[in-house]
């Protein structure tokens, strides 16, 4: 690894922008993501910024069990994120539908059918520390030694 690459990796690992999209959850995971902002967990000390705009995001946190309202729209949001990018599924809902995936419901889990998901955090809802840990575990595998897509 060259020195330049080392500097790039170091800088990229300290600047992760996060957007979250709720595709039909109970809100419990949303507020646990918001709780990560609190001074107790302090997500910004790791260089992670929650801006919630897909166009400047690196990591997309997907929450919820994929309702019909998000057909096509979630893929559009995913396309708007510039590479390198990764999606993290927060909670049981995007993994399996949790208790919403029953006869009569409108949801269509898992989310990884619709967009590629890099990491999954189980829990109903997971604790803020677990969400933080998942984002930190994804950043090295996705952003290290990334050199752009050559035509």
């Amino acid at each position: 690894m060259t020195i330049l690459q080392g500097i790039k990796n170091k800088v990229r690992a300290r600047s992760i922008h996060v957007a979250y999209v709720d595709v039909g959850s109970c809100n419990g995971c949303d507020i646990e993501v918001l709780a990560c902002l609190a001074p107790r967990y302090d997500i910004e000390q790791y260089g992670i910024f929650v801006h919630n705009t897909p166009r400047e995001a690196d990591i997309l946190l997907v929450i919820g069990a994929y309702t019909p309202g998000w057909e096509e729209k979630l893929a559009m949001v995913w396309d708007k994120i510039p590479p390198p990018k990764a999606a993290v599924a927060i909670g049981n809902c995007p993994m399996s539908g949790c208790l919403f995936d029953r006869r009569g419901s409108f949801v269509d889990p898992p989310v990884k059918k619709h967009i590629p998901v890099a990491a999954e955090v189980p829990g109903c809802p997971p604790r803020p520390t677990e969400i933080l840990q998942a984002i930190l575990s994804v950043r090295d595998s996705v952003f290290a030694n990334w050199e752009g897509e050559h035509p």
């Binding site: 959850s25 646990e32 309202g69």
Partner: protein, 361 residues
């Protein structure tokens, strides 16, 4: 001649200020909002359809997941409705513990709503203070119930676990700490000149408009309507509950009503701890057939469950009426109309504390 441009501005579903997806379509003349319309449908899961035909043991957990922010009140209203149907009586100690859990949940919900508002008007310092205060409330909720968000604390005939003596003392001590901090932060909000510029006189919902739109909860109480579902609850009546209200009708009043309600919740929990009766926490009972319409006061307003069950305790029919839909309508048709800038649209919308997950279920 000066030409005014009519602009159509969509906000959402993904927006830096919104916690949940909702699309707000505004028609603006210059920067002044002429009309607004909300477009929902991003969160529809069909919870009521799943609930039908299932035993209450399953529906109890589904009811809690109608809304993650105010999960305790959904649990409480569903279980109390089942108790009314089956004439199950609750031991007095359990009734007081329910009030403690419910008020802790209300505190964290109101603090989160006020954090969102402060974050939206870009007063991040106060927002972070409030979020930190909320974490202390979440700790108390976790110590009492065992979970942070969806705790399933209330069960028919009582509550799941008791509060030991040393935990009651810890709760008492941390309430003192929270009250001190809350007074300081509420003072910061009340006296901040920049906050007043962004909040006072913006998003006015007059008392007549609030009545016309059937606004509920803190949104209605900020418009001078002293309606509170807790007045009809037997345990709250024993505690001598008096609802708060304000007559300013603007964003500032809605946030201050929430601050006042957090202080009121602290006083109610203190009264509960002081008068906590000794005895069992579970009375037992069997869920039976019946039909009832039962209401409770959620952090956002009146929450109503209509339940019909059969003789095995299965839910035959269920309808849920959540408070946010009335507040969202009041917000679109009255509060947002005529605000002076686009930046005030988001802050006004957030000040009504809309909960889209509740609304669409």
């Amino acid at each position: 001649m000066k030409r005014t441009v009519d602009v159509s501005i969509p906000l959402g579903p993904i927006h830096p200020c919104f916690k949940e997806p909702a699309r707000l379509k505004c028609e603006a003349k210059g920067e002044r909002i002429v009309s607004a319309e909300v477009e929902l449908g991003y969160m529809k899961k069909g919870i009521e359809r799943i609930m039908k035909g299932r035993p209450w043991q399953e529906v109890m957990f589904l009811a809690e997941r109608v809304c993650g922010i105010c999960s305790v009140i959904h649990n409480m209203v569903f279980i109390e409705a089942m108790e009314q149907i089956s004439s199950i009586s609750v031991p007095p100690r359990a009734a007081y513990l329910r009030v403690i859990a419910n008020e802790l949940d209300r505190m964290q919900s109101h603090l989160l709503a006020n954090f969102s508002y402060c974050y939206t008007i870009e007063h991040e310092t106060l927002g972070m203070y409030l979020l930190d205060l909320r974490e202390q409330v979440m700790d108390e909720l976790e110590r009492l119930t065992g979970a942070r968000v969806t705790c399933a604390y209330i069960i028919p005939g009582g509550v799941r676990c008791d509060i030991p003596c040393q935990n009651a003392e810890l709760l008492q001590a941390s309430l003192d700490r929270i009250e001190g901090d809350l007074r300081r932060y509420a003072g910061m909000f009340a006296d901040g000149p920049m906050i007043a510029l962004r909040s006072r006189g913006i998003g006015v919902l007059t008392q007549e408009a609030a009545q016309r739109a059937h606004a509920v909860g803190p949104t209605a109480r900020a418009s001078g309507i002293t309606a509170d579902g807790r007045l009809n609850h037997p345990t709250y009546r024993q505690l001598g509950f008096v609802p708060v209200s304000r007559a300013d009708c603007d964003n500032y009043a809605r946030i201050m009503v929430r601050f006042d309600e957090v202080a009121l919740s602290i006083r109610l929990i203190r009264k509960c701890l002081h008068a906590l009766p000794e005895g069992v926490i579970r009375g037992g009972g069997v869920c039976k057939a019946g039909e009832i319409r039962y209401s409770g006061e959620a952090p956002r307003g009146e929450l109503t469950y209509f339940i019909k069950s059969d003789e095995y305790g299965r839910i035959v029919d269920i309808q849920i009426q959540t408070p946010s839909i009335m507040n969202i309508e009041a917000c679109c048709h009255d509060m947002i109309i005529g605000v002076d800038s686009i930046a005030d649209v988001t802050s006004t919308f957030v000040s009504a504390d809309p909960c889209i997950a509740c609304t669409e279920r």
